[in-house]
């Protein structure tokens, strides 16, 4: 189905037609993938940006005017999400320092060797996350691990923004208790 058909599907989605909306999102995802890939996003990140674009499309679907072409509307949102992705990556890179080989050497001071416990710490965090109640675990996964915004996480999870904030707060309290429980010594 071409762009004009998508306009009609989107118009029905705006009226609350779930099957039409599902079909629209499924069919337009391929188009979005092409647009995102053309922006130069690394191949292994394209799908993440496509997903963020779909969430944005969902959030601002009320702004689409079915009398206008839908492809430029979709493409503009996808390009914007690609820019956001780059901005986030640049921001993250600015806080990281490349390490040379010498940086991985161990030192006589035992306090300096705490890095060796990294894999154990990661395993512990995974174990603690698994122990969280489902609502709290989902909030942490969406907001802290996938780094979605509150509104994005609300759109994906179906929880309200307020409920997500409460769930995240409770998750942090639970994680703190679990950390203290398992703390050596």
């Amino acid at each position: 189905m071409e762009g004009d058909g998508w306009s009609e599907l989107m118009a029905r989605a705006q009226a609350g037609d779930a099957p039409a909306y599902r079909r629209f999102l499924s069919e337009s995802a391929g188009f979005l993938r092409i647009i995102v890939a053309r922006t130069g996003i690394p191949h292994d990140q394209v799908e993440d940006v496509v997903q963020e674009t779909l969430i944005s499309v969902h959030a601002i679907r009320h702004t689409y005017d079915p009398t206008r072409p839908i492809r430029p509307w979709l493409a503009a949102i996808a390009r914007r999400r690609a820019i956001d992705w780059r901005r986030r990556r640049n921001s993250a890179n600015s806080h990281e320092v490349a390490l040379d080989d010498a940086a991985h050497e161990t030192f006589a001071d035992p306090e300096a060797n705490r890095d060796k416990d990294k894999s154990e710490a990661a395993a512990a965090i995974r174990r603690w996350l698994a122990e969280l109640p489902p609502g709290q675990r989902q909030a942490v996964e969406l907001l802290k691990l996938r780094e979605l915004s509150l509104n994005e996480a609300a759109a994906v999870s179906g929880q309200s923004v307020g409920a997500l904030k409460v769930a995240t707060h409770r998750a942090m309290l639970t994680l703190r208790k679990l950390w203290k429980r398992d703390e050596p010594g």
Binding site: A18, A29, I60, H62, D65, A76, N151, E152
Partner: protein
Amino acid sequence: MSDRTDILIGALSEKVAAVTRLPTPTTRALRWLAFAAVFVGALVAIRGHRADIGARLADSAFAVPWAASLLVAISAAFAAFRMTVPGTGRWIAVLPLPPLAVWLATLGTGCVHEISAQGLSVLGTSFECLEFIVMTSLPLAAVLVWMLRRAAPLAPASTFAMGALAAAAAGSTGLELFHHIDTSTEALVWHFGTVGLVTLIGLASGRRALSVALVNE
């Protein structure tokens, strides 16, 4: 398609609710312009328009830049609302440029004539103009931000700069109706200059003012 994308599409479509479609940008711009006309008109009515307004409007040296400032307000408002529709070309940003050029050119020409005839003494200070335009722009811009945030300002800085230009130009247009400034030089510095200042403030603060969830981080 990846499983995760498929799951996301399922989650989004499963609970899709009917939404009220946003009115067209033209309709939204007309609503804001109507509000601006009532607001600025009320301020002019409170202050009382200048007694010689009929004669001034018959004088092209006043009427042309005044009409140009009015057209800047109207065209910038249309452009700002149009810019909140994803997929709109960048060409829309040039919409206010022709009236802006006429406004600047007429005031600039008058300014050159005045300075060559009277020297720099023609330039007085009028902080009242700056205060009126800024104080008028604030509520107009606040309403504009509220309206623009309901749409999808994908380029928030330039969109809000355009909105600030519309708000400040509307304030300046109203100011001319009651304030006794009869030299192009003063109008250029205190009216046009303040409009430029407000627009730059809009450009600098647009990202913060129009950051919309799910579109901007």
